[in-house]
Structure formats: structure tokens, C-alpha cells
């Protein structure tokens, strides 16, 4: 193996590891607190990408606003004084040519994903919390939710590929003999940063502490006065935002499609099991390990067998360490 290949594998492993980590940490957070698997997590990646695209790109909100702008301008004369007031607004709308850019797109995506996460909790999860067989029921309701969102997005935005701006544009970064795209570099840097922020939030903020408390002992959490019934939706919101961020990053690398996120979800499950259910550090380490296994098996064996290696690894881990590589400490 050349040095160049090694750098390529490391860079690739870091990028895919980062994306898995973003996804899997949300999945793990929800599992840890609510004890349920959210099968709509992949769809949230898609929602994140679409909502960012909708605001930031030319084809999105700007296009949708055009008719409104046009009608304001066209009708302003008849509307008299009010029309005179509205006219600049209409002209401004018409002057928007390139969308609002990611500066507005990303916050909008975060907002959207948070909201969708909350709605999802209220409709698909909350009615079943505490009922017998809830974990099973929630699997099917969240699958249904994912299907609803996927198909809904296809109805609203159509089946055509969309494409999100890259956050950074410019020539790739040269490291040793290998070059790495700026978007990838950004992902490699931003993900640990995001996860560090998540860590700070969980470790030091009052709400973060409460989330962890509920995850570890919800009975006792009641007794110290935590409003457990608010923590569950909060967890969903946080995890949805993480998925949405993953979507924004993915959307800058590849096309945006209603079906995107499904494959990432699959790998995120592998990661979560690999790292130990509900253990956040385990999940993050697991994400990068899986990222590297994937990249290096693609190089050493064949890209084709990479998923086989991953699933075989998963099965072996499940057989010999059912609680994951990092899990198994809590009883």
C-alpha cells in the first residue's frame, strides 16, 4: 500500500465515519433515553437536505416566491396606498435570483428538522410510550412515518435530483500525494466539533444533564423533579437536528433524493450495535471504526465486498459481544 492510498483511506474513513457518527449518535441518544429505535431517522437526513436546499438554492423558495412577487407587482397599482407599500417587497422578491444561500439554509434546516422531530415524537412515539410491546409498535410507526415523509417530499418537490451548494468552494486541499475536497475537509472538521458541542450540551447544560439522567434512570429522574415527559421529545428534537446536519453535509457531497438517507440509516444501525446500544462514546468510536473498515476493505479486498465485511463483522460482534464492543458495562 502506498502512502497515497493510506492517506486516501484515512480521509475516506474520516468522511464516512463523520457522517455515520452524526447519524448514529442521534439514533443512540434516542435509544438511550426513550428505549426505542427510530426508523425514520434516515428520512430526517433527507428532510434536512431538502429544507436546506429549499431556502438556499435558486430552485427552491425563491422560485416558489416568484409568483407571489409577480402578483404583488402586477396588482400594486389597483391596491392603492397599500400597494405602494407592498411594491418594494414585491420587487425585492423578484430580485432574489440565487436563493438565500446556506447561511439561511442551514439554520432553516435545523429548525425544520427539530420541528419534524417533535411532530414525529408526538404522533408516532408518544401515544405508545409505556404500553406493552411499544418498542415493536414504534418500529412500525416510524417506518410508516419515514415512508410518509419520503413520499411527501416526492409529491412536493418531485423525483428529480436536487443539489445543495457546497459550503466551501475552491481547489481541493493537498495532503501528501492526495487531494481532499474542501467539503470533505469541512465535514471532517465540523463533525467532531458538532459532536463536541453535543458533548458539552449533554455534559454541562441543565437540559443535557436531564437527558442523560432520564437515559440512566428515569424513575429516579422523576424523583429529582425532571419533567420526563418533556425530555423524550427534546431527545427526538436533538437527534433529528443531528440527522438534519448530516443531510446538509451529504447534500453538498451528492445529489438530494427522496430516498436518500436509507443507506446511511443501515450503516448507522451497524454502528450503533457495534459501539454498544445507547453508549454515545461507543457510538462515535464505532462510527469511525466502521468508516475505516469500510474504506480499507474497499481498498484491500474490493469495494463490492465492503458491505459483506461490515455485515459479517456485525454478526460476529453480536455473537461474541452482544452488547457491542464498547457496551456491556451497565447492567
Amino acid at each position: 500500500m502506498t502512502l497515497e492510498a493510506l492517506v486516501a483511506i484515512i480521509a475516506g474513513g474520516l468522511v464516512s465515519g463523520s457522517l455515520y457518527a452524526l447519524m448514529a449518535s442521534g439514533l443512540s441518544l434516542v435509544w438511550g433515553t426513550v428505549r426505542m429505535f427510530n426508523f425514520a431517522h434516515g428520512a430526517l437526513v433527507m428532510v434536512g437536505a431538502y429544507s436546506a436546499w429549499y431556502v438556499s438554492n435558486r430552485g427552491g423558495i425563491a422560485k416558489a416566491l416568484q409568483p407571489i412577487g409577480k402578483s404583488i407587482v402586477a396588482n400594486s397599482e389597483e391596491a392603492g396606498a397599500l400597494g405602494g407599500l407592498l411594491l418594494p417587497l414585491g420587487e425585492w422578491i423578484l430580485s432574489i435570483k440565487g436563493g438565500f444561500g446556506l447561511v439561511l439554509g442551514v439554520p432553516f434546516a435545523i429548525l425544520c428538522c427539530g420541528l419534524v422531530g417533535y411532530i414525529m415524537y408526538v404522533l408516532l412515539v408518544k401515544p405508545f410510550v409505556g404500553k406493552p410491546g411499544a418498542d415493536l409498535i414504534v418500529i412500525i410507526t416510524t417506518i410508516a412515518g419515514a415512508s410518509f415523509m419520503q413520499n411527501g417530499v416526492q409529491v412536493i418537490f418531485g423525483p428529480r435530483y436536487k443539489q445543495l451548494d457546497r459550503i466551501l468552494k475552491g481547489p481541493p486541499l493537498q495532503i501528501l500525494e492526495t487531494a481532499i475536497g474542501l467539503q470533505e475537509v469541512l465535514i471532517i472538521i465540523l463533525t467532531p466539533l458538532t459532536l463536541f458541542l453535543l458533548h458539552l450540551f449533554l455534559k454541562h447544560s441543565k437540559l443535557g444533564l436531564a437527558i442523560r439522567a432520564v437515559a440512566q434512570n428515569d424513575d429516579f429522574a422523576h424523583l429529582v423533579g425532571i419533567n420526563v415527559s418533556q425530555i423524550y421529545p427534546l431527545t427526538f428534537v436533538v437527534s433529528s437536528i443531528l440527522a438534519g446536519l448530516c443531510g446538509v453535509m451529504l447534500g453538498g457531497l451528492f445529489f438530494i433524493l427522496p430516498t436518500m438517507g436509507a443507506q446511511e440509516l443501515l450503516f448507522a444501525f451497524v454502528v450503533v450495535v457495534f459501539g454498544g446500544l445507547g453508549s454515545l462514546p461507543g457510538t462515535i468510536v464505532g462510527a469511525y471504526v466502521i468508516g475505516f473498515i469500510r474504506e480499507s476493505s474497499a481498498y484491500i479486498i474490493d469495494l463490492y465486498w465492503a458491505p459483506v465485511v461490515l455485515f459479517a463483522t456485525l454478526i460476529i460482534v453480536l455473537i461474541f459481544r452482544p452488547r457491542g464492543l464498547m457496551g456491556g458495562e451497565d447492567s
Partner: protein
């Protein structure tokens, strides 16, 4: 009267564990609950703190009905339940556990001084403040559990079996600490099987049998030891 339970009924599913139980606690009073296992002591505390619903009867605190309120609201009023056994946040540090004890708004702003109080009471916790709860010994966990309760600035503290499973020396240390807390004027209900421990702390004792109060002794010094012994061992003298 600070706290009163009237004809309370509660339990799990169809089974009633607490069957028409009444008791009360006066301001500043320390009341002990004892009796055999499985007769409803813990269930009573869980009902009082809102973890399980009351099926009938009434629980009032400072004259207000608090039965079936959200546990959070009950904690907010200063009624704090320190549960039995290893009920902690096991993966969190001692410090974090204590911080969570001051989660509700009434105690949040007094966190710093309460930390001092808890550490003064249990110096061992201060030594171990960055250690995870699950790595503590049984006695330390019990101390932490009580510490978490104190962080909530209780007006009525419910202690469930603080001495269970502890070695004699640690039991004594803990008993002293509870007595110290009692001396600060906090009202208390202490549940324990160890009558001796209760005798050292409480002003008044209730014997709980089959989900109801079967004996109340206002004067602790007059507690009939023989009766208690018979309850535990049956009539074996002879």
C-alpha cells in the same frame, strides 16, 4: 399539620398493596415507618411522591391536596423522596448526581451553598466528586442518594430503607448523618426494617402491616420491644 395521608389505597395493576393507610407528620417532626417486607412501605412512599397513582384516599402537604400530582410538581413543593437501593444515575459523577438533585427551580439558585452542606455532612462525597456513581461502595451510594435528596432543599424528606445491606460500621455513620439532618429541623419520614436505627432518629413510629398502620407509638421510649420481636420471630420464647 405539615403532611397527612388519609385512607390511601394504591398498588400495582389490580393488586392493592397499600390498603386504606392513614398517617401524618407535624412540622419539624421525624417519623419512622417499620414492619416486614412487602407490606406497603415503599409503595406508600412511591405513591406520595407521585411515581404511582393513588387509587383512593388523599395525600395533603401543607393543607393542599397533592395526590396524583406530577412527581416534578411534588418535588417543587419540597417533598423529596430518597428511594431505596442503588437509585442513582450510575454513569454520572457524584457532582453531576448532586447537581441533578437541585434540578427544580426552587433549589437551583441555592446550589452552591447546598453543595457545601452536603459535603460537610458527607466528606467522602467531596473526595469522590468526580467519580462515577456506579464505582462507589454501597454505603457511599446511599450517602450520595441522600445527598441528592438534600440538594433539592427538602421540607419533608422521605428516606426509604437507608440502612439496607450496609455493614454495621457504615450503618452507624449513616445513622449519625441522618440524625444530623434531622437536627437541622427538616421534617422526615424514615422507612427502615432496622428498628434500632429508627429509634435513634424518630419522634414517633408507625408499624405498617398489610398495607395499613397497625401500631402507632408517639413516645418512642415506650415502644414495646417484645411486641416488635414477636412480629419478627413469632412466639418462640418458651
Amino acid at each position: 399539620m405539615l403532611f397527612q395521608v388519609e385512607s390511601l389505597v394504591s398498588g400495582y395493576g389490580k393488586i392493592d398493596v397499600v390498603r386504606s393507610l392513614s398517617l401524618h407528620v407535624d412540622e419539624g417532626e421525624h417519623v419512622g415507618l417499620f414492619g416486614p417486607n412487602g407490606h406497603g412501605k415503599t409503595t406508600l412512599l412511591r405513591t406520595v411522591s407521585g411515581l404511582i397513582p393513588a387509587k383512593a384516599g388523599k395525600i395533603s402537604f401543607r393543607g393542599e391536596d397533592i395526590s396524583n400530582l406530577d412527581p416534578r410538581v411534588i418535588v417543587e413543593r419540597g417533598l423529596i423522596h430518597v428511594p431505596q437501593g442503588n437509585q442513582l444515575f450510575p454513569q454520572m459523577t457524584v457532582q453531576e448526581n448532586l447537581t441533578l438533585g437541585a434540578y427544580v427551580s426552587r433549589s437551583d439558585s441555592h446550589k452552591a451553598s447546598n453543595f457545601e452542606k452536603v459535603f460537610a455532612l458527607f466528606p467522602r462525597l467531596e473526595e469522590r466528586r468526580s467519580q462515577r456513581a456506579r464505582t462507589l461502595s454501597g454505603g457511599e451510594r446511599q450517602m450520595l442518594s441522600i445527598g441528592v435528596g438534600l440538594m433539592g432543599m427538602p421540607e419533608l424528606l422521605l428516606l426509604d430503607e437507608p440502612s439496607v445491606g450496609l455493614a454495621p460500621l457504615i450503618k452507624e455513620e449513616l445513622a449519625r448523618a441522618i440524625a444530623e439532618i434531622a437536627a437541622t429541623g427538616v421534617s422526615m419520614i424514615v422507612v427502615d426494617q432496622d428498628v434500632e436505627l429508627l429509634l435513634g432518629i424518630c419522634d414517633r413510629l408507625y408499624l405498617i402491616e398489610k398495607g395499613a398502620v397497625s401500631l402507632e407509638t408517639a413516645d418512642v421510649s415506650q415502644v414495646d420491644q417484645a411486641e416488635i420481636l414477636e412480629m419478627y420471630f413469632g412466639k418462640v420464647t418458651g
